[in-house]
Amino acid sequence: MTETATPSAADVADRPPPRRRPWAEPARWRDFSLVPVIFVLGVIGFIVSPAFLTQDNLIGVIQQSTELGLLVLGEALILITGRMDLSLESTIGLAPVLALWLVMPAHGTRFAGLELFPAWAALPLCLAVGAAVGAVNGFLMLTLRVNGFIATLGMLTMLRGLHVGISEGRSIGDVPESFAYLGKADWLGVPAAVWICLALFALGGAALGYLRHGRALYAIGGNPEAARAAGIRVDRLTWIVLAVGGVLAAFAGILYTGHYGAVSASQGNGWIFQVFAAAVIGGIGLKGGRGTLFGALTGVLTLQLVINVMTLGGVPPLWTQFLNGMIIIVALVISRFTSGEKQD
């Protein structure tokens, strides 16, 4: 028997291997196309330094992946729905800044806020800002029907500008404890961020695989007209997905703030390229309707491992960037051939 191409990595994993010639369906293999890459990186890492396989190091790698990971999670959902959102890289910075600006004491600290809300409100406010940004993107793409790539690119610039304007370019330290907690807490000896991030990925994967609205996203991304004809509320769902993406970015901002102890003015600056790279080498199609969150996750880990291995290997700083780019390409090529699919 064969299975429906349900996208959740989890359920692909625990399914018995197909009897029919497996190469018949690349869809299943695309999700794992990066596993060999990760394995190779692991071996290299182990060779260059015994420290690589230490728990500290590996946990460190995962922790450093969490913020990027959440952005990728959001972007993956949006890409699967057949859209794009570049502005996530600014949302991760703007959302915390706006939230803190609304709650921080009007004077005393270095960064003067408006003190409109109690400190505990910072977290929900931050998420709300994320949702709002997503909604605005939705408005531009779905109501005004302007090109999503450039619209969100404009948003990227604008929101970053807003961030700089409000924070006056300073990084904001001493944030409320409630706001910083998630980013720096440890649960069972592992950073809370790691648990949360993995949980969200699992959740998302399950939703895409087992919820009707989740499945609908693939339909929308694959052929919006058909989805419409099948009674799926295309625009509404797309809008929701964009908002969710914003919320995830905002949440990434919260983790970032806790993790690095402050909201820096360049928080997330230039990340969006990594986000796309991770998603695509992870098997998410830029044209929509393809890919799984598991794949996206492997994409993130790959990129982070590369940096880690290069640091352990003591690559001369002058050449890290060069290597980084080369490895992205290699990973892309490998994932293209292991998945055996022409990428448009």
Binding site: S49, A51, T54, D56, N57, G60, V61, Q63, Q64, E67, R110, A112, V164, E168, G169, R170, S171, G173, K184, D186, P191, Y256, H259, Y260, G261, A262, S264, A265, S266, Q267, N269, Q304, I307, N308, T311, L312, G314, P316, P317, L318, T320, Q321
Partner: protein, 322 residues
């Protein structure tokens, strides 16, 4: 944009901000605006070149088109500004270059604290603190930024010459906090015996580094066992707090206030056609001759627990105007 200042007799000054998204340049801008508002020379509205040398040039041209008779700029790329400097020289417009020293092209005055000095002083301090042996992580800046490079090279050569027994791990970070934190974390996993850290920019690296050490339970107060000696550059208020708290040991205070003050001072002087000669100045610095002009090398004092409360440090001065 309302044009500040009253007397436009000698003509106005055009000022370009290299970027506004870092603590340091932000304070610099605020000092500029304060000085301008308090009877400084007449200036056109500030422009912002968002760390792109091409924008510096277009902004400066726009400023001169508007009648700026002197220019204050901080080209983050010392090569690609050459042509523009030549153009300004032809127009007899004096240029004050803040923080960086252009490779070529006439400048009226360079106002900066020598970045190589940062590297050397930091190296000295760490070397002495560690007694000449140990393992040090260097959080570099962006490799394509002149200042970052000067600090790196000076630090490296000094270490090689004076403290050959200290191993230095250079970590390139693009001035990005999360990159620094990530690489430092990897390094700590690899070499738990890390003794010292040199941060080339406190503004970018201080918080992430402290947060990391805290999470790694490696944040011992200065003097206590297992403390990692940290020296930083910039001298923003956060760093002074950290020094007071003993979480870091020292910093080099890059005088944002003096940058602003003397940028305007020399610009005005340029307007009035004054000329300067190499030698010590009235404000505790020395003017040196460089091949394409003069350079006023402002002092970049080393701040330690003993000197941290010095009122003269810009970061200690009463809350800046908002």
């Amino acid at each position: 944009g309302c044009n500040r200042g009253s007397d436009t007799a000698g003509g106005r000054i055009g000022i370009d901000m290299p970027r506004t998204d870092t603590d340091f340049w932000n304070s610099y801008q605020q000092y500029l605006e304060k000085d301008l508002d308090h009877g400084g020379p007449a200036a056109l509205p500030l422009s912002n070149s968002q760390n792109d040398i091409a924008k510096v040039v277009s902004n400066v041209q726009a400023l001169t088109d508007q009648g700026a008779k002197a220019i204050v700029m901080a080209p983050q790329d010392t090569g690609a500004i050459t042509a523009e400097l030549q153009r300004l020289a032809e127009k007899k417009i004096p240029v004050v270059s803040v923080d960086t020293r252009p490779d070529e092209g006439k400048v009226y005055m360079v106002v900066r604290a020598d970045n190589r000095a940062y590297g050397e002083k930091s190296c000295d301090y760490l070397g002495r603190k560690l007694g000449g042996t140990g393992r040090v992580a260097e959080l570099q800046g962006d490799l394509s930024s002149i200042n970052g490079r000067d600090r790196s090279e000076a630090f490296a050569s000094c270490m090689r010459k004076k403290f050959p027994k200290i191993t230095v791990h250079e970590l390139a970070t693009d001035w990005k906090g999360e990159v620094a934190s990530g690489k430092l974390q990897s390094l700590l996993a690899q070499h738990p015996d890390l003794d010292g850290i040199y941060m080339q920019a406190g503004g970018a690296f201080l918080r992430p580094t402290l947060a990391l050490l805290e999470q790694q339970k490696r944040l011992e107060p200065a003097g206590s066992e297992g403390h990692i000696t940290i020296i930083s550059n910039d001298g923003i208020p956060d760093e002074l707090d950290a020094i007071r708290a003993g979480t870091i040991d020292a910093t080099l205070s890059q005088p944002a206030d003096l940058y602003a003050k003397y940028a305007l001072y020399y610009a005005k002087a340029g307007l009035d056609g004054k000329t300067f000669r190499p030698g010590p100045t009235d404000h505790g610095s020395t003017i040196v001759k460089i091949k394409n002009g003069l350079e006023d090398q402002l002092p970049a004092p080393l701040v330690t627990k003993d000197t941290v409360d010095d009122k003269k440090l810009w970061a200690n001065q009463p809350a800046r105007k908002k």
